[in-house]
């Protein structure tokens, strides 16, 4: 479904992605983990076309999406939940959801589905997004990604800065969304969460994928965890 092959990305002269290759299959929930600053967010931005991929290719459902103007990428069926949520703070929660329906009106069945995952969102519909708590903002951000009925969602650290109870609940929602058939590429610092819900996990280091395995394989490969994630086992 989504295939990145040898992608290089630069901020100015500094190279951040250095031959990144990864793949997300139809209906898959794939994890991407790595230390701070290794290029995880950059990878997602490269998919969205927000940062141009210099070399290599980004293909989605057989199309080279790196050639599209960036605003067309979400219209292909890819939704993006950025790190730090990035809601529109002065728009209401409802407007934040509606603005994501770029090609039509928000359909109410889809709205109800979102409220099913996140009942809190429904209670906050008329509130300005900037006044929500961090957890609520995350729910709205995921809701905003869902509303356009995407085939693939790119999720960047959805549990960052949330309390443990909420982390668990967000993780379960992500899993539930995936089980309904939406493919997900999930970037996380929290390896434990990834191991719980992802079938396949990539580890990234200095702009490239250095390891790929199932959660049990990662569990077994203690040296990998120690080397790339500084996890003491």
């Amino acid at each position: 479904m989504l295939i990145l092959k040898d992608v290089d990305c630069f901020y100015g002269k500094g190279q951040v992605l250095n031959g990144t290759s990864l793949e997300v299959g139809e209906g898959e929930l794939v994890g991407l983990v790595g230390r701070n600053g290794v290029g995880k967010t950059t990878t997602l931005k490269a998919v969205m076309g927000l940062i141009p991929a210099k070399n290599g290719s980004v293909r989605f459902c057989g199309r080279n999406i790196a050639e599209l103007p960036p605003y067309q990428v979400p219209r292909m069926g890819i939704s993006y939940v950025p790190q730090g949520r990035h809601l529109f703070p002065k728009l209401t929660v409802r407007e934040n959801l509606e603005i994501a329906c770029v090609e039509g009106k928000a359909d109410s069945a889809r709205m109800e589905e979102i409220f099913g995952y996140f009942p809190r969102v429904k209670e906050r519909l008329t509130q300005k997004a900037g006044t929500l708590s961090g957890g609520e903002q995350q729910m709205v951000a995921i809701g905003r990604a869902l509303i356009a009925s995407p085939r693939l969602i790119l999720l960047d650290e959805p549990t960052e800065g949330l309390m443990p109870l909420l982390v668990q609940s967000i993780a379960e929602s992500v899993k539930a969304i995936n089980e309904k058939g939406t493919s997900i590429l999930l970037v996380e610092q929290n390896l434990k969460i990834l191991k719980e819900i992802c079938r396949r996990i990539y580890i990234m280091e200095k702009g490239a994928i250095v390891y790929e395995g199932t959660s049990s394989e990662i569990d077994a490969a203690m040296d990998v965890q120690e080397r790339y994630l500084s996890v003491k086992v």
Binding site: Y11, L50, V73, P74, F88, K90, I99, G130, L132
Partner: protein
């Protein structure tokens, strides 16, 4: 005395409402495109001049009121696509470029329209008594039209999809792109809308002032003052400030000479900026939640268009 004061107040409100339309266009363009549009006053002038030609041709002011802004909107479209888009990441260059557009438009009008000021007759000649004076009804109609247009603008921004996109793009450009909003199209139509509003105010003002190729110059400075005092990006702040400054100036002119009255309004501006540097009616932008934590995201967002964070500036159409 009482009648003088009443006329000054009504005049101040009428002129303030015209200024508000001009400032709204300028503020919209600044809020979305981050362009300091030095050509805004020239577009206002162009609206009035185009209206004069339309009236020469058809004799109908109302036709001119509809046609001239559309024509100038078209010119705005050409300017945005042909010129401004090619230099969109360079704020300094856009200032110089729009300044150049201003000069070019002024000279073109001077060439074809000539340097003499011309008058447009009041399309509604009726007057009504205001104390012991007869006040032209047309001025009140002009004010009413301005209010209606502002109401329409409010509805457009708050109730239509395109308006929602515009408000979204102002707050977070990169996220808007990531949601599939065609940001460049939004920029283009915003510039067209701003040009339309400038020209529309020009046609509204034409029967009150005289039409000449320099009429946009002072207007531009006033509009900048209004936008800054009312708060960059705060649309309704522009409206309130426009009426207030115009009232101060109008009422002040009864007691002192007009140029001293201008000093009053400038003094008022300085006072406002000292007390509320973010603008008269704009909430201070230090609420941390609105900023969000993702700084790396923002720097990337801005590197594409403007070296500042997109989420630190927002515009609101109502009090927050």
């Amino acid at each position: 005395m009482a009648s003088n004061l009443a006329v000054a107040i009504v005049n101040g409100i009428v002129w303030g409402l015209i200024m508000a339309l001009i400032a709204l266009g300028l503020n919209l363009i600044f809020g979305l495109l981050h362009i300091i549009n030095m050509a805004h006053g020239a577009l206002y002038m162009l609206g009035a001049v185009a209206a004069w030609y339309f009236i020469e041709l058809t004799g109908n002011y109302w036709l001119a009121l509809a046609a001239a802004p559309i024509l100038v909107g078209g010119i705005g479209l050409a300017l945005e696509r042909g010129l401004l888009r090619t230099i969109e990441d360079k704020p300094l260059v856009t200032i110089i470029c729009t300044f150049g557009i201003m000069l070019a438009l002024q000279q073109l009008v001077l060439m074809y329209f000539g340097g003499t000021a011309r008058r447009i007759a009041l399309p509604v000649a009726a007057r009504f008594p205001l104390f012991d004076l007869q006040y032209p009804a047309m001025r009140v109609i002009i004010a009413a039209i301005s209010v209606v247009v502002m109401g329409g603008l409010w509805l457009f921004l708050n109730k239509t999809r395109y308006g929602l996109w515009m408000r979204g793009v102002v707050q977070d450009r990169e996220m808007a792109v990531a949601l599939g909003i065609p940001v460049h199209k939004v920029y283009m139509w915003t510039f067209v809308l701003g040009s339309f509003l400038a020209a529309f105010s020009g046609v509204l003002a034409a029967p009150i002032v005289s039409v000449d190729f320099m009429m946009g110059r002072e207007i531009l400075i006033m509009a900048f003052i209004i936008v800054i005092v009312g708060g960059l990006g705060t649309l309704w702040g522009s409206v309130v400030t426009a009426v207030m400054i115009s009232l101060i100036q109008g009422v002040g002119s009864i007691f002192v000479v007009p140029s001293t009255a201008t000093v009053f309004s400038l003094g008022f501006m300085i006072l406002v900026l000292l007390v509320r540097p973010q603008g008269l009616l704009r909430a201070p932008c230090s609420r941390t939640r609105e900023r969000g934590p993702g700084s790396s995201w923002r720097s990337a967002a801005s590197s594409r268009r403007w070296p500042r964070s997109p989420s630190s500036r927002t515009f609101s159409t109502r009090p927050s």
